[in-house]
């Protein structure tokens, strides 16, 4: 019991505290790829710490929805951090729900962010909300079909079982359905976390923004909460990609040795994924907004093929 609580809290802390580093690593890698030195990997922490001492400027037109949203954003992500198995699949707190719950919790935070974007009454915010919701909505079928493809193999939609089942298959990577599901989920993860080629996280031009445009009005501690929440979201998506599709190293027991291997494996997997993401973001240009649906429909087809491959290839 004590071990359970311990590992649960440990995992949670890894996510919550590790998320900004991951963002820092991606930024650093991108800087290096651009021939720059870039900020240190702990820069996101300094940014957050600074935001917390700044005052908050709130637009006069806004209502309580605007002030509630940062707490919803961080609350949902902190909750998700309990649900995703990060180091081990032996922790019990994932009884909270399966992967479908997780996706809806993400959608909940998007819902509130979009409302907050509309709340100030600026055209930027509205534009961001509209686009964010469009992308979130169009990504949803891919998410579900990819989940279906994984669940078919695992015989469960529980995250622990999915990972355990995948880990027990030695020929995992030769499975076309698995690879297709990975590809489609990866594309969706890019869209959901607002990365290139769907959204440019470092853009300064309001008209090309999606996620940024919604939070243009936020400042101080509110902004800190929202930024932190988006770091956690990125961390969780990459962890899901790493752990579901490449389940090696995830501890299946609570033995200290296994957990240590889990930590090590997590670091490696996230490092590789972050590197991949950075390379991708360096090499790709942002898609026009109205070509994003094409990308998403492509990923949907991949997910559907993954499902077909399960039913038709015995």
């Amino acid at each position: 019991m004590l071990a359970q609580i311990g590992i649960t809290i440990a995992q949670w802390l890894v996510v919550v505290l590790g998320a900004p580093v991951l963002a820092g690593v991606i930024r650093k890698t991108k800087a290096r790829l651009q021939g720059r030195r870039g900020a240190g990997i702990f820069q996101p922490y300094w940014d957050l710490r600074k935001l917390l001492v700044k005052e908050v400027v709130i637009a006069e037109n806004t209502s309580w929805v605007f002030r509630l949203t940062p707490y919803v954003a961080i609350g949902t992500m902190l909750l998700s951090a309990f649900i995703v198995p990060v180091l081990t699949t032996a922790a019990e707190l994932q009884f909270l729900g399966n992967i479908i719950l997780l996706m809806y919790v993400f959608l909940l935070s998007t819902f509130f962010l979009a409302l907050a974007g509309l709340d100030a009454g600026s055209s930027f915010g509205g534009m961001g909300s509209s686009r964010e919701m469009a992308i979130a909505a169009l990504a949803e079928p891919t998410v579900m079909i990819a989940i279906f493809a994984i669940a078919l193999r695992a015989g469960s939609t529980g995250l622990n079982e999915m990972i355990n089942r995948a880990a027990s298959d030695p020929l995992l990577l030769l499975n076309p359905g698995h690879l297709l599901a990975f590809l489609s989920f990866f594309i969706v993860a890019l869209a959901e976390t607002g990365r290139l080629p769907v959204d440019n996280p470092s853009t300064h031009l309001e008209l090309t923004m999606i996620h940024e445009a919604m939070i243009l009005e936020y400042s101080g501690r509110y902004l800190a909460l929202i930024e932190w929440a988006s770091f956690i979201k990125l961390f969780l998506f990459l962890t899901l990609l790493g752990n579901i599709f490449f389940p090696w190293g995830v501890a299946v027991t609570l033995q200290p040795g296994a957990v240590a291997i889990g930590v090590f494996a997590l670091v490696i997997k996230l490092g590789v994924l972050a590197l991949g993401l950075a390379v991708l973001e360096t090499a790709l240009a942002k898609l026009r907004l109205f070509r994003v649906p094409e990308l998403l429909s492509g990923s949907f087809m991949l997910a559907l093929l993954a499902v077909i491959s399960f039913f038709f290839l015995r």
Partner: protein
Amino acid sequence: MLNSAAMLTLLAASLMLFAGGAAGALVFDRESGRCRRMTHGLALCGTVLVLILGIAGLTGNSFELLLPRILPLAGGLALGLDRLSAFFLLTIAVGVIPSTLFAVGYTRQYRQEQALLGFALNVFVPAMMLVVLSRNVLTFLVFWEAMSLASYFLVMTEKDRDETRSAGWLYMVMTHAGLACLLIGFLAMLQATGSFSMPEWARAAEGVDSGVRSLVFLVMAAGFLSKAGAIPFHVWLPRAHPAAPSHVSAMMSGVMIKLGVYGLIRIGFEWLGPGPGWWGVLIMIVGAVSALLGVLYALIDSDLKCLLAYSSVENIGVILLGVGAGLVFRSYNLGSLAALALMAALYHSLNHTVFKGLLFLSAGSVVHVTGTRITEEMGGLLKRMPHTGAFFLIGSLAISAMPPFNGFISEWLTFQSLLLSFRVPEQFINLVFALCIASLALTAGLAAACFVRAFGITFLALPRGQAVEQAHEADWTMRTSMGLLALACLTLGVAPVLALRVLSGAVNEFLGAAPDLSFDWSNIAAASAFGTIAPLWVAVILALLMLAAWVGLRVYGANFSRRYYETWGCGRAVQTADFEYTAAAFANPFKRVFAFLYRPVEETEIEAHSESRFFVKTITYRHESRSIIEDSIYAPIVATVRRLAAKARTVQSGNVHGYLLYILAALLTLLLFAK
């Protein structure tokens, strides 16, 4: 436990109350205030008794009643209560009670129409109740028609408006086309089984030719789906529901269309006996299409009530997905999965009653104070109507299936039952299910977008019009009724065990198979460990974590000072509502992505100053999108009917002798046939 006599007493008492209400409407038709309070009050009391009856039925009480004296030709008036009926009684009561309470304050604006409103309401509600209780053909049809007629008069409350009249007419046509379908189906079954009683059909159905049963299923499904508002029979719904007063819209959208689902469940699972898998596939496809198209049209509609009406089409689609999945599972002998799917459908229909009722009522109070239904003219209402706004937000969250509200639980259950379809050993079916999962997921995403838009444009930012600026909060009856429903949204989402317990009992009795679902206060698990969820814990932990974030900031010593300043607009001098993103703009990405469905027509006219074309005087932008269903299905039908009607006109000579001749000919033909 109540015995059968006590149940019947309850039923009689509630009918008396409704009758009293109806009578009161006629007696006090001059005194609008008293009439309003009395008719609605009595209807409210009557519905409370219905609620008790429903709860009693769900806890295992039942009754059968046959009154051969009434309607003697068709085997008498037959009523009966089983758990499924009781569940729908509960749904009716949950939808009607807040609506009538709301109506006490809300209908103050209808001075002239008070008597009609009260009378029709007191017919409408008991008719719905008795439809659910009917156990033979004629009883069913009589109350079905009474329900349709009463709702027609309710829709026609604001009959001075052209829009209402055309909506009412369309509703009348569609509902009678549906009735005709039902009639054909009932007559065919009557012919085949020789019995008026539907429970007897269920027993005799095995002996009936399966081709006949399939035909009957198709015809009757069309009839019921037209009442349910599923695509392609939905055309009346987005017109009639908004045209009605809001409490009526809430009842029609929340309750009446569920009776279409009720009928479908009865014919699919019971009255017509076991059917082939394609029945279910058909219903699923209708459901998936309804869900998707419904939400897509809701997404671009700028009329608040119209939007809600389209979203009812969507939710009916979601319910039908569950029902269809249940039918498919049953035909493959997967009883426990069929029960799970049906349970998801029933739970979603209860939930839809709750949140759609809530949304229509709060939309009603918005429309009431602003005098407009167009979202483009609203905005900033959250500050002026804080309670209504909060309730609308809760409704929006619930209908978008956001945890921890009730819509999420039923949608989650639907997803689980669809995901479990891999147990069906037929690849084609598997593929259909995969596509249905995708369309349900897309629907969920689009619904979230739709309600972000609905709430955001209506309640947030700055007011876009004069009427909105002077808006004020609704009165206490209206707020209480909305509060009740909002509370129900949360309760059914946090503690679904309350509903699941009675539902699994009902489904178990109805299908003879226990759903593959285990649940208690803290946990719900579908198909042992296929999918689990702990709604109560999710809600509690989410709330705690949000609080913890706040406390954490306090403890850390974050800067808690705040300053109010104008919205950032790149330093421009004034912020007006003109700067805000409009509802049309919000929906624009969707319009472009789904252009092949909307087939939008855009016109932009720019009038420039004579000196230079760069100085613009006015810009007129008009946007219209057409319904693909109406264009491709209904337009040809209407054209054909018109053509035939023009031909039929030649028969109409205007000559009295001619008409007499027709009558004679008809008489002779009938006599010869009867021979």
